[in-house]
């Protein structure tokens, strides 16, 4: 997946990049969250404007791998 910049239309995305090393293109360069209860905590502050409701959708994108052994899917790791 590569970052692309779109500057048209009503498109805003907030992207948090928790890379653990300088090269973010390397597979496995992200943050390791295993056996942790703290996880990632985010505080977003905003000004209250206009009315109605909004939904904030949080997507987690992680480096993953699937393994084939004996011509069959053996495991999926992420």
């Amino acid at each position: 997946m590569n970052l692309k910049l779109f500057l048209i239309g009503d498109r805003f995305g907030l992207l948090v990049d928790p890379r653990s090393m300088a090269d973010r293109t390397m597979h496995g360069s992200g943050t390791r969250l295993v056996n942790t209860t703290d996880g990632v905590q985010l505080e977003l502050e905003r000004t209250g404007t206009s009315s109605g409701n909004l939904n904030c959708q949080a997507f987690v994108i992680s480096h993953s791998q699937f393994n084939i052994l004996g011509n069959q899917l053996q495991s999926v790791q992420f």
């Binding site: 239309g9 409701n53 699937f66």
Partner: protein
Amino acid sequence: MFEVTLTAASQVVKASDPTKLKYKLTNIQLEYGMMRSEKLADEARSTYSSGKEFAYDHVHLEKTIPFKRDTDKRLDIKVNAQRRSMKVILFLFMEPYSARAWDSEKYVFPDLTKVRVTIKGSPNILYNNGIVRTDLWAEARRFFERKKIK
């Protein structure tokens, strides 16, 4: 085996009587390539039987947080997905879903003034108190500048 989940007809087509909507997908095809060289095929077969890994990016909608535009001035969000390598957390802000008027490419800017991220209990070394509007150019400029201006 392949499992395909299709959304309800009311989300796809519009008509005056929403109870009678239908749609169908035709010509769904599986694409594949074929190896005609026996040597290459043997090589592939032995690779798949002795072990082969594919690296990819796994995308997961972790949670949806509804909030009120006028009164909710602070959102506390905890993401605790157990991942060996979390690459990106992406937030999209959408108006509540209504099937009749829905722009799938409309992602609203929710008037953010400050974003603070704490990973595994440690605050950000550069932006300990959160990243505010005036910090953004320093972070975003790499997307706009092709070369360093001297």
